[in-house]
């Protein structure tokens, strides 16, 4: 259990007639960025609330940093930072005071609070606006500040519910760098939800996909892509004679061969090396210009998983 930051076992939560989280079983290793993906209303936010002990599950159990959210939520919250559904910022306070308050909550010393505020606000480009009341800020600025607040006390586990929503591409990219650095250098675990699948693919060591509260798949983006997409190879070239095509069809891993527009499209049973296929084609007199391996993106995988479930 100790090498896992989060473990859940058949965790379930109902709201009246809605089953928001349905027998969810996941394992989140320590020190990685973990992407929690799912369509709107699939139970992502509810799961975070359950893990922080802000809601109680109807069934099942969980362990966060080795603590039980039902009985030891205080210890969990003491070691976590969170950006939840709302930014949770006090709009009648200045940016500086918002950070200072959460620093005080976590017993960060006055000197350290000052240094950390300077560091975080400078890096976010918000330092000059630190004396503004947060209510007067733009949505993206608030979002940045809320992320800074979640990281302020250097927690070992950080929950981020759609952290890049409302951020411009430059700010989003800077946040990506920060998160990757936190995980890689300081061993921090980041549990994040996002609707931006390119972001998840780029950032996350592992992802889980849920739909209507149920886990559909968990693994590294590469694993999921490999598992979900039937591999396909496309050859561009000349001299794809009927004999060459026949020879390909006879090859054990090939399920189908089609020719279109001078391209040869070969469906495979499982991902496999393309070199033997090239050799085979060349031996039958074909000339190969280019070999393209079709790779499904995480987005394709996500859409396929959710579609299948429907």
């Amino acid at each position: 259990m100790n090498d896992h930051a989060i473990v859940t076992d058949a965790m379930t939560r109902d709201f009246k007639s809605v089953r928001a989280v349905n027998e969810l079983t996941i394992e989140v290793p320590r020190g990685i960025l973990f992407g929690f993906l799912g369509p709107n209303g699939s139970g992502k936010t509810t799961t975070i609330r359950l893990l922080l002990g802000l809601l109680e599950p109807n069934q099942g159990r969980a362990e966060v940093l080795g603590f039980n959210p039902k009985t030891q939520a205080d210890q969990i919250r003491a070691h976590c930072g969170a950006l939840l559904e709302h930014t949770g910022l006090y709009e009648r306070l200045t940016a500086e005071d918002n950070l200072d308050f959460y620093g005080r909550i976590w017993h960060v010393s006055a000197a350290e609070r000052q240094a950390r505020t300077l560091e975080l606000l400078k890096s976010l480009g918000l330092w000059d606006r630190r004396k503004d009341l947060v209510g007067s800020w733009s949505r993206g600025m608030k979002q940045k500040l809320a992320v800074a607040r979640a990281l302020f006390h250097r927690p070992e586990l950080i929950f981020l519910d759609e952290p890049t929503s409302g951020l411009d591409p430059v700010a989003a990219s800077a946040l990506h760098e920060t998160l990757i650095d936190l995980a890689a250098r300081q061993g921090v675990t980041v549990f994040l939800t996002t609707h931006n699948l390119a972001e998840a693919e780029k950032l996350c060591g592992q992802v889980a996909v849920i739909h209507q509260g149920k886990l559909l798949a968990q693994g590294s983006p590469t694993e999921l892509r490999a598992k979900m997409s039937s591999p396909r190879v496309e050859f561009v070239g000349r001299g794809f004679t009927p004999a060459a095509i026949e020879a390909l069809r006879g090859y054990p891993k090939v399920t189908d061969v089609a020719q279109s527009d001078g391209h040869l499209i070969v469906d495979l049973k499982e991902p496999s090396e393309t070199a033997p296929l090239v050799t085979l084609l060349v031996s039958k007199g074909a000339e190969i210009e280019e070999v393209r391996k079709d790779q499904a993106s995480l987005e394709d995988v996500f859409l396929k998983l959710v579609e299948e479930e429907k």
Binding site: L84, T87, G88, L93, F101, I105
Partner: protein, 245 residues
């Protein structure tokens, strides 16, 4: 724990200080103090200090002043979407509850204290007595301060209890107003229900007892109620039920 209470108290103070609207805030505080500490004493003259019952009657403005503050305590955070993030922090339940009670109680009680000080100054400036400084009898001063404090804590703790489970500040305010009305009416109703003989005896007893003694009985009752309601609020403070709106 003390550090935690102080952290929340600091935040509450900062928010109160920045507050520019009429609902609570420093302006309201100043207006109330000016009313009870300057305007009324100017009207009553030396009697304001010599007849302490006057000051006793005027303990109500601070009681009214805390209602918005305490209605806002939890419902306001819920309405402005800051409650969940606060509850996701490492703060213990009691620290949040006590800090929010403390700021409201201090807001109200400091109003009373400031009004009594301002009243003394006003009376002495406007109606200087040839015999020297006019001051409240000390026993009365203590009684008024104690009644005021016990009553403010009473309203604040009921307010916190109501605000804990209210979706908006407005609804908390409305529920709290109704509760206050019930608190005022209930003793009268209860008095109407007891048999005429008992009622006579009770009223006779009150009439023959010195006012100060009666007040200390009231204070004792309020303190018991205060403790009970705060314990109840603490028990009702369950994070898993607070974020649902």
């Amino acid at each position: 724990m003390i550090t935690d209470i102080l952290a929340v108290f600091w935040k509450e103070w900062k928010e109160l200080y920045q507050q520019r609207t009429s609902r609570g805030g420093l302006m309201t505080w100043l207006i109330m103090v000016a009313l009870v500490g300057v305007f009324i004493p100017l009207q009553s003259g030396a009697a304001w200090v010599n007849t302490p019952v006057l000051a006793l009657v005027w303990i109500w403005p601070p009681l009214l002043g805390v209602v918005w503050i305490v209605a806002d305590s939890f419902a306001g955070e819920r309405e402005r979407h800051t409650l969940e993030t606060l509850l996701a922090s490492r703060l213990p339940d009691q620290a949040i509850l006590l800090a929010k009670l403390l700021i409201a109680v201090l807001y109200g009680w400091s109003m009373e204290v400031a009004a009594l000080i301002a009243g003394t100054i006003t009376v002495n400036l406007a109606h200087p007595a040839p015999t020297g400084l006019l001051i409240y009898p000390l026993g009365w001063l203590a009684t008024i301060l104690a009644v005021s404090l016990a009553a403010i804590v009473f309203i604040c703790s009921i307010g916190a209890l109501v605000s804990l489970r209210s979706a908006t500040v407005r609804s908390a305010y409305q529920k709290l107003s109704l509760t206050m009305l019930a608190v005022i009416l209930l003793p009268n109703l209860a008095l109407g229900m007891v048999s005429p003989g008992w009622r006579q005896a009770l009223l006779g007893r009150v009439a023959t007892t010195p006012v100060e003694t009666t007040l200390w009985v009231v204070i004792a009752v309020l303190v018991v109620l205060d403790v009970g309601i705060i314990l109840l609020a603490n028990q009702r403070f369950q994070r898993s039920r607070l974020i649902l709106d």
